[in-house]
Amino acid sequence: MRILLVEDDAEVARFVRKGLAEAGHNVEHAANGRDGLFLAASEPFDILVLDRMLPGGVDGVRLVETLRAQGNRTPVLFLSALSAVDERVKGLKAGGDDYLVKPFAFAELLARVEVLARRPTQEAPATRLRIADLEMDLLARSVTRAGKRIEIQPREFRLLEHLLRHAGQVVTRTMLLEKVWDYHFDPQTNVIDVHVSRLRQKIDKGFDKPLIHTVRNAGYMIRAEA
């Protein structure tokens, strides 16, 4: 993937660049908003990773507003030291797609970048999600594995749906908290792990090949065993 990183802090930029490159992505870097806007407007990128506050008169929010006004729909992930909820709302309102507060674990950033850049296209809404022998019917709200029906609660259904929509991608605990529960706070305990393990009990127990995998220091991923 071709990624544009606009970040003024040299150390953070180096760290993010190196990490994304190691994950196999092609990263362009701009150190201020003006250069970032120029690059974003003149070359195609799969995703923009923007610092919220940038020197040079064009900050992250302005940059996105300008791009969106030009009809550029490239997904945008904000990085910001501003954690207040209004700041997040401001960033998303301007046209950002996701918001990550500094300091962050690189795994969190990578997971969000990959999920954003490979967002499912909205043109054909799927009615069925499938992986290996697990099948989810979004209309009938039913889940079957190897033809056997699995009883599942509404919230577990949404959790599984989110994992399936991003099958093969790492989904972090914070992402699940935000996307499945729409909570933007620290739940203090490992509540997400408990919910995932409960889902695992229903989906994977009694089958030889587990589908839900824990990715160390990152989160979870649903995939068919190779």
Binding site: A84, V85, F185, S197
Partner: protein
Amino acid sequence: MLRFLRSAGFRFALLFAGIFIGAAALFALVLWYATAGSLDRQTDASVRTDALGLIERWREAGPGAVAEAIADRLASDVEGTAIYLLLDSNGVRLAGNLDRWPAEASPDAPWSFGTVQREGNLIDARLHVLELGERYRLLVGRDVGEKQALRTLLAEGIAWAAVAASFVALVGAAVLRRAVEQRLRPAALTAQAIAAGDLSRRVPVSHRADEFDRLGESMNDMLDRIDRLMAGVRGVSDSIAHDLRTPIARARAKLEEALDGQAAPEALRAAMEQGIADLDHITRVFGALLRIAEAEAGARRAAFAPLDLVPLLAEVAEFYGAVAESGGQAIAIELPARLDVVGDRDLLAQAVGNLLDNALKFTPPGGRVRIAARAPARDRIDLVVEDTGPGLPAADRARAGERFFRADASRGTPGSGLGLSLVRAVAHLHGGDLLLEDAAPGAAQPGLRATIRLGIA
């Protein structure tokens, strides 16, 4: 001097003096018009009538008749104010009481004032010149000496009145200026003291409930708000100073220790991982502190929206329910059909979540946690989270909302000591409070009942 001129008090005083002097001038003008002006107009009217009568005579019977009429009129003039002079074409006097034609009276300006000589005496007079034809000239006039004297008196009176009025205007202006200054002085002094750093000062408010009091009250409200914000900032910086140092010091010590010795690569790696975990913990504490400060400062009120508490509570209960299940505890939910409030969904969910998290931590396996909500009064909603744990001694209960306070009994359990601080801040933000009490007073395991009391204004 310049400062004095720029003062609002001075400008108000100037305005007052201006209005006062303007009113006095208008008063004097009307008075003048009604008295002196009226006298002048009366004189002119009588001269005009006199002259018309004489012209009539001229037309009817010629110079002789006019001369006769003049003689008659002079004879019957008791007050002795009438002035007449009739000259023929050669300038010879035919009738009248003037010795000679006055220089001021010319046919070019028919009306004039002048000094004339009548029977040897010089007098002030109003004069009217008429051309009768055949180069005969007639002068009709009135002695205005007495009226002039009256006029002078009146003018003097007005002048004195003007002096008096100016004096009153100046004194009044000074008094007004002083009054404005006196009334504003407490507010100004308070503002100065606050600017100098003493935030505890407030503007004294009288019981007159006037504009100045309203201004003072607004200032005080503003100051209270600033005070609360400052207290929030102070609280956060105190907490950072006291309580972030410890984990930072611990993480630093561990990293340094790992670097120091001849540690194996695996041990070094483990130490670094631990260092990152410590930093993440610090970040979480920091995030919690910022969140509390945000709630305490009231900045989040902008994000308030109407919401139904019932699904919110059910969702939070379900969210933590998974934890209860894995810990062998039960969560009982008692909710009404609907509870409408205006608030911040995320903060309310977090507050109830913190209470549930606490309850689950302190309730032994097999125990029960109850979450309930009800509206005991029209303007009040109680959100209750109750457990069957060891409860909290009364002394600890009072301190439980303080940042980083942890009861001795809880030292062994994970947690930052910020959970209840946040709950309390969220309750305050929603116009309410956090109440802690024994769930089952007297029992061996009294349990804790935490009530978020929300005020719905």
